[in-house]
């Protein structure tokens, strides 16, 4: 049912916050340079699942992973205790729900990932910033003012800036956590176009509340409910002929 080059393989993933288990035995293959959407009602664990991919849970106490997320082609388990979360985050980037630019200039926002990696050469930084802003479809709007504060941008521009910031370090996977939930419809459609565009460069996993959005941007969709994957298939299949009754009820709006 899922065909193509596999970028990440999730095997028997369980996630615990203290004693409560929020992800239950998740098995899933993420395909390279495709968009995979995670949908499901609030509290179903889709964001929790997404944040496993770049070990964001390691920032807070009482969180525990079980199982494996194998990153290919190296075949490393990125949630293993022996792998430094920082190494994982260097390879897998994230765009958050609310645009969260740093209170610095547009240039510094995009350059930050490079600075973290110790890049100091002005021309390398500048080239990367320009390339990333172009990839994020923001360059034309900001090229005359990249030394101006990022907060001067509109909400949609700020979110595209955050995408540029995440792209600047050439991640292997880009995670989107409901990237348009704080944006107006026009800004949303720009971000959606961008996501469709970006899948030529990078593997994308996107959490969304909005089922139309999942249908518009993704090739594969996983429907989650109460911490489990109920169904995972081609987006088309999920939205037209779902195999599970629960999926059908959700996408037809009968609950959630």
């Amino acid at each position: 049912m899922v065909k193509g080059n596999i970028k990440a393989e999730v095997r028997n993933l369980n996630f615990f916050y203290g004693i409560s288990q929020t992800l239950k035995d998740i098995n899933l293959s993420i395909l390279e340079k495709k968009v995979t959407a995670l949908i499901g009602p609030s509290g179903c664990g889709k964001t929790t699942f997404l944040r496993c991919f770049n070990r964001m849970h390691d920032l807070y106490p009482h969180n525990r992973y079980e199982g494996e997320i194998i990153l290919l082609p190296e075949n490393v388990n990125i949630i293993s205790n022996t792998i430094d979360p920082i190494e994982v985050r260097m390879r897998i980037s994230m765009v958050f729900q609310k645009p969260n630019p740093f209170p610095k200039t547009i240039f510094e926002n995009v350059a930050y990932g490079m600075r973290v990696r110790g890049v100091k050469k002005k021309n390398v930084l500048y080239e990367t910033v320009e390339k990333s802003l172009k990839s994020a479809a923001l360059w034309d709007e900001v090229k005359d003012r990249i030394d101006k504060p990022a907060f001067d941008l509109s909400g949609g521009q700020q979110q595209r800036l955050c995408i540029a910031r995440a792209l600047a370090t050439s991640p292997e996977i880009l995670l989107f956590d409901e990237p348009t939930s704080a944006l107006d419809p026009i800004a949303t459609s720009k971000i959606e176009e961008l996501i469709v565009e970006l899948k030529n460069e990078v593997t994308i996993i996107i959490v969304t509340h909005n089922m139309q959005q999942a249908a518009r941007v993704s090739e594969y969709t996983a429907f989650m409910y109460l911490g489990e994957i109920i169904e995972y298939d081609k987006t088309e299949k999920i939205f037209t002929t779902p195999a599970e009754k629960l999926t059908e009820d959700y996408i037809t709006g009968r609950f959630g």
Partner: protein
């Protein structure tokens, strides 16, 4: 309809009542400060001359000045700032960003809050035992400065923590998500974004330290001193001398206290004049604090 209007009138009535209460409370504070300042001005303005600032104390009131007092106060502030700022800021950052939240850090937190409320004389007693008798630093500028540093340390720590806490977590997550370490996140984000609040806290702490009397009297500051601490710059190699740290000292509030306790009317006038200068010093420091806060607030909005 009439009912709703009645209800609105009733609600507005209480609105006005509070407005009047609040305004009165504000005016009482302002009025008292103004009266105090004007009273000092009336009493002391006749002595506000350059000579007053450049003369040593004397037993003749008209010759007496506050040179040793303000030089002493600034030396103390220098030592206090140099010791309290790094300690307090580092502790604040550690507690907010590194320390795990458990019962132990909770106890530390409660104790720091308590320390801020400890009477200053108690710090004086502690410093007398620790710096004067145990470390044998004597009644020196160093002892006085360290004592005041202890006094404002809790304030600096709390100001640091408060302004770090005001940084939204989304900023930290954005930084970590790009592969930054804790230190990189602190260095590039947490520290610069909280600097405004930290500086404000530091300056308010220092402006409290400059007016403290009890702890430095306890550690043995002199009340009458007719010489300056040795110069920090010398003509011989290595040109910088640390001897001033170990010299005896006095400070503005001590000089005032000394003058007030004398029977002659003229000395009271001197005390008022010194009071004006001390108040101007603290006003300037608080003004700088407000300016810094405003400047940083304008630059950073969440």
């Amino acid at each position: 309809m009439e009912d709703i209007r009645k209800k609105i009138r009733y609600n507005k009535f209480w609105n006005y009542i509070f407005l009047i209460c609040g305004l009165t409370a504000t005016l009482v504070g302002l009025f008292l400060l103004a009266v105090l300042f004007i009273d000092l001005l009336i009493d002391g303005s006749s002595r506000l001359t350059i000579k007053f600032l450049t003369s040593f104390p004397s037993r003749f009131p008209e010759k007496a000045g506050i040179l040793s007092a303000w030089v002493g106060s600034f030396s103390l502030l220098f030592v206090t700032a140099l010791s309290a700022i790094p300690l307090g800021v580092a502790a604040g950052i550690y507690l907010e960003e590194y320390a795990r939240k458990n019962w132990f850090t909770n106890i530390i937190e409660i104790n720091i809050a308590n320390l801020a409320g400890v009477p200053s004389i108690v710090y004086g007693l502690l410093a007398l035992g620790l710096f004067v008798y145990f470390f044998k630093l004597g009644a020196s500028v160093l002892t006085g400065g360290l004592t005041l540093a202890l006094l404002i340390l809790p304030m600096v720590i709390m100001a640091t923590r408060e302004s770090i806490r005001a940084i939204p977590n989304s900023i930290r997550e954005a930084s970590y998500a790009l592969g930054a370490t804790k230190w990189q996140t602190i260095q590039w984000h947490i520290f610069p974004y909280s600097l405004g609040g930290i500086l404000t806290g530091i300056i308010i702490g220092l402006s409290r330290a400059i007016g403290e009397t009890a702890p430095i009297i306890t550690v043995g500051a002199l009340t009458f001193i007719a010489f300056l601490p040795s110069s920090p710059i010398t003509s011989e190699f290595p040109f910088i001398s640390m001897r001033w740290l170990f010299d005896p000292f006095t400070a503005m509030p001590i000089q005032m206290f000394n003058w007030v306790s004398r029977p002659q009317k003229e000395f009271q006038i001197n005390a008022a004049a010194a009071g004006i200068i001390l108040m101007i010093m603290t006003l300037i420091m608080n003004g700088i604090a407000i300016h810094i806060r405003y400047k940083f607030r304008k630059k950073i909005k969440w």
